[in-house]
Subunit: 345 residues, 2 copies
């Protein structure tokens, strides 16, 4: 899922998302949308899809991660999280209940539970306490979800989130509780927050051994192409990440031959096409030297080209992953791809 924080995937037109990157769903951030443009306007528009004219699915996070990482003066209580807007300092409270209401109003197809995302490192005692709070919040969120209805005439589903930091027993406990709610899909949060990749993978192995394999498993906020390949290998189905757009804006391009840092001097007079194996129009329309010039000169078009390239790359990677799983060649192919995609060109 490309990340469309504030109702826009940065630097990319909605039509480019559909036609060039082939995105089938995007993620919106409840925290950002709630603060700006605000829920009243989104409701008046008939939901986020209509507001931004995006006629495909949307998943919203619950805002949990953002209130703890972005907002000012965040205070955690049993009832929820008090915080000040990072934009104008205004005071707000997010609860397991009102974040459901907000996501109902946004019109998200996939609604996420309100959770506390532990930082890394996190002591066992704190991780356990935080996980238990997340579980109590989950119970309240599910109640609220059951007691409310979609506002725009289409179905919305609710996803609970496994927490537990980097502790195997906590992760297993959390995965068991999440599974017990029997939701149509399940998410894994609190990873890729600074821990070594091996620790993340160890947690994934625990969690995916418990979360049912016949329901989508969504790993939140991950990751690099290699992270995605490895995680799919462990049974993950869905991802969201800002890497294709954020790293793109900084001149990092992912290709089937490896990673290009377009700012490097070595590309300065390379007039070959951006990526002859790429699936977006930018890949054969613009050259490496031209993109380098744009990025070095801080020209908007540089960010636009790199973002669209990376999104198209991610989407085509996911598409091939699906094909490889279906034809039974995934693991061998993944092994080769991980080596290729890790390379720095």
């Amino acid at each position: 899922m490309p990340v469309g924080t504030a109702g826009t995937v940065k630097g990319v037109h909605q039509m480019e998302l559909i036609h060039d990157s082939k995105a089938q769903i995007i993620l919106g951030n409840t925290y950002h949308l709630y603060l700006r443009p605000g829920i009243d306007l989104i409701q008046k528009a008939g939901g986020l899809h209509r507001f931004m004219n995006w006629n495909k699915p949307v998943l919203t996070d619950s805002g949990g991660y953002q209130v703890f990482s972005l907002a000012d003066n965040c205070k955690l209580k049993e009832e929820g999280a008090y915080f000040n807007s990072h934009i104008d300092g205004s005071k707000h409270l997010f609860t397991p209940e009102n974040t459901i209401d907000i996501q109902r109003t946004i019109g998200a197809d996939f609604i996420m539970a309100f959770d506390e995302c532990t930082p890394y490192p996190c002591e066992y005692k704190n991780a356990k306490k935080s996980m238990e709070l997340t579980h109590r919040w989950l119970q309240r969120g599910i109640e609220q979800f059951k007691n409310t209805r979609p506002q725009y005439g289409y179905k919305q589903v609710f996803l609970p989130i496994v927490q537990g930091s980097v502790y195997r027993d906590l992760r297993r406990r959390s995965a068991e509780i999440i599974t017990s709610y029997n939701m149509p899909a399940n998410a894994i949060g609190g990873l890729s927050v600074g821990e070594p990749t091996d620790e993340m993978y160890a947690m994934l192995n625990e969690v995916t051994s418990i979360l049912p394999s016949d329901k989508p498993r969504y790993l939140m906020g991950v990751g690099t192409p290699v992270n995605i390949l490895d995680s799919v290998g462990m049974g993950i189905d869905m991802f969201d990440c800002v890497i294709p757009t954020r790293n793109g804006r900084n001149g990092m391009l992912f290709t089937r031959k490896g990673i290009i840092n377009i700012k490097n001097q070595k590309w300065s007079d390379d007039l070959s096409a951006l990526d002859t194996e790429g699936s977006s129009f930018v890949d054969n329309y613009y050259s490496k030297a031209y993109l380098r010039h744009l990025v070095v000169s801080n020209e908007m078009l540089g960010a636009q080209i790199a973002s669209l390239h990376n999104l198209a790359f991610y989407m085509s990677l996911m598409s091939e992953i699906r094909t490889r799983i279906q034809d039974g060649t995934f693991y061998q192919w993944k092994h080769d791809m991980v080596n290729l995609l890790s390379q720095r060109l």
Copy 2:
């Protein structure tokens, strides 16, 4: 002509320029291109058209305006202008001769003379001295142009520039000298640099009474839609201006009903299409409230949408101007349009 300063019209893909804004020619800045990416790379690419993959005409300015307004430590001598790059402080010299060579290498279809653009206000004595220097530089530039050849197999033409600040006699004198060179098109510089609009129009009236009407007359760096309508009324044929893109990035939209400052509170919940009379895909795809949200949130897509809208508006305005001139209804129509386009919505 949309302005593509450093080989890109800010925020707009080349394909959008062609298909959505219907641009037929763009302007490149010699000063910017010379400093970055540099002439060697552009030559290696086979010219700017190929470097940026733009298969339509390009006009380059000579860099005169930029060395005086943007560069550091600009020192004017008879031989040319010494300056330091605003990017890395490196020392350079632009002369009437080497700016022709540079534009030859860029591969501009229209090459501009190297001139001194007087600031406003400017004393008569200084304006006269500056104009005379510009005329001596013109003579040298024409010699250089005649003694050099296109590098990429297509024709290049050279345009001299009328100067003379806001002094009628200087403008007439300059226009006579420029006319005497019998070039395929003629330009008017040094206007729209801070003088009252009436003074600009008074100068245009002098100059257009002298520059031959059967050759394109190009008014450099102008202007608003109303400036363009008025100037066409006085016989101007060509314009370049950053207003559609720069003002667009700041949330100013030009429409057939008047000017919209999309940041104004009044648009905050206006969910109607951006501009139902607009000719670009963005006009009916996005709403005013959505664009306002993007611009207020400083999202790249806001600048992309507003730039494309404004460019398409300018192009459709020029297109209708042409039609109105041909069918003899220009002046009456212009009168109505000037009133409409001046309105603040």
